[in-house]
Symmetry: C2
Subunit: 271 residues, 2 copies
DNA sequence: GCTTTTGTTTTGTATGATAATTGACGACCG
DNA sequence: CGGTCGTCAATTATCATACAAAACAAAAGC
């Protein structure tokens, strides 16, 4: 794997504020605490707060103006296709059924067409990458986590095979939300036989270069998996996943300092 | 209109660097000048350079590491659906035919389905907004600029009518690129009769709540307009548009200071 | 009553100092 | 000869502080 660079302070602060905002703790139009207040609350310098704020500004979450402070922008201004924003939206610990529905709606636009393009344009390496992930999915000895990972990679490899940078970027953006969706679906029952069969159909069609069938199969797969996810989300709203639960607890308590310190594993200099 | 807040230094620097990067002046994997060098080149403080860098980092354009400096990430890591990134890509002054093709490819995924959803879900206000823009498009007395603006608004209103936040956000992201595309198509011949008719067909179908027809009409419109744009882009690559040409000239000369000063209309303190 | 001025609050920018990270190189040891 | 470890230096990361600029509000002056 890649060297996992230690998350720096600015990342942590941006994540903290970003999660608070997308969770709706500060309503659109409302002001975020002033930079001076955030310095105190989070025990970091104003430089760091400002750098974090710049990130949020770049994602369209907030807007700053002198004297008025920093205010949360209306949700249509948010860059919903930003990987961080989408990840923060799924980090609340509970499943947002609205998000799930809207996500399937756009996936239904994209993924069938991506399959068609992949069938037409993929090279040997691309096809092999897709096939390899499918093998893991059907392998009965795969653990649940491993299968979820492969399912995710399967979809991402299809995007990569389209040779259209927008599809690739879209995959990266929804990656986290996709993983959440898969976790919900495969909650404990594991993946259904129907879904495995449909994955196989998609895979075969792409390998065979059969664009229409690839498109149709993915369409069917999305329909099937949407129903599964919806049922799973309704019956029980995903309650374990350590990091997520911790985040929720912190968020509920309103206390950020201890959580922040846990996050970066050290304290800023005490004076 | 809205009060156009004066662009601040950090915005200008982020834009300058962002444009350089997406224009390919610094290849992926290559290092951006160090923050100290950028301070000198752009005549701004390191604070400002760093804040701009944070914005670029948030968009996945670059990654910073101590000792190694800031390096441009490979293009698949870029957030291609970020409004700024897409705007910078279209700010080069010349039309990138590859971008145009890929853009049409994703629009073909999205927009027909958006029309179907709009036909199913739009309320009176939404339908009226779409109709109003169509009226401007067909009005023979509309100026070219006005018609381009209305064409853009027409498509954005359709996204808004889907009541799916992802479509809305997508519209905002591709807005600038869409405008560029329209400018190319309507270069001097104006909008074609066929395109006007197809716009009408889309509009009617949505107002009538006829989802399949709305979808099909938009599909046809995209096909038609793609051909038009491709021809226009081939025959002549869009050569006027003051701001754009200025940006290209600056970019070619490699001199950034005068351009930057023009941008913010004043000099930083000379000491 | 209207305009102007002045003040206040908040973000914006600059500067300098110090800490942390990490790649490169070389010393040391097996 | 080869590998491991430590030292050094370059660069970003963080902090503290000061002042500038913008925007709004209230007071002052006509």
């Amino acid at each position: 794997m890649r060297t996992r660079r230690t998350e720096n302070l600015c990342d942590a602060v941006a994540g903290e504020l970003g999660r608070r905002i997308v969770a709706g703790e500060i309503a659109p139009g409302q002001p975020v605490p002033t930079q001076a207040e955030l310095c105190e609350q989070l025990r970091v310098s104003r430089t760091t707060v400002r750098e974090a704020m710049m990130r949020l500004q770049g994602k369209g979450l907030v807007e700053a103006r002198p004297r008025d402070g920093v205010r949360v922008l209306p949700t249509p201004r948010w860059n919903q296709f930003d990987a961080d924003v989408l990840a923060w939206r799924t980090a609340t610990g509970r499943v947002d059924p609205d998000l799930l529905d809207q996500l399937y709606e756009i996936r239904t636009c994209f993924e069938p067409r991506a399959c068609a393009l992949a069938a037409e344009r993929s090279d040997d390496a691309g096809r092999e990458a897709i096939r390899a992930q499918f093998v893991v999915i059907v392998d009965p000895s795969s653990s649940s986590a491993r299968r979820i990972q492969a399912d995710l990679a399967f979809h991402l490899e299809i995007f990569a095979a389209t040779r259209n940078i927008f599809f690739v970027s879209l995959g990266a953006a929804i990656k986290t939300a996709l993983a959440m969706s898969f976790r919900i679906s495969q909650n404990r029952a594991g993946i259904s036989g129907t879904e495995i069969r449909l994955h196989g159909s998609v895979c075969e069609a792409i390998l065979a270069g059969d664009a229409p069938r690839a498109e149709a199969s993915m369409h069917a797969l999305l329909h099937e998996s949407k129903e599964t996810a919806r049922h799973a989300a309704k019956s029980k709203g995903l309650e374990r996943d350590d990091r997520t639960v911790a985040a929720r607890a912190r968020s509920a308590s309103g206390d950020i300092r201890p959580a922040y310190e846990r996050l970066v594993l050290r304290r800023p200099t005490d004076r």
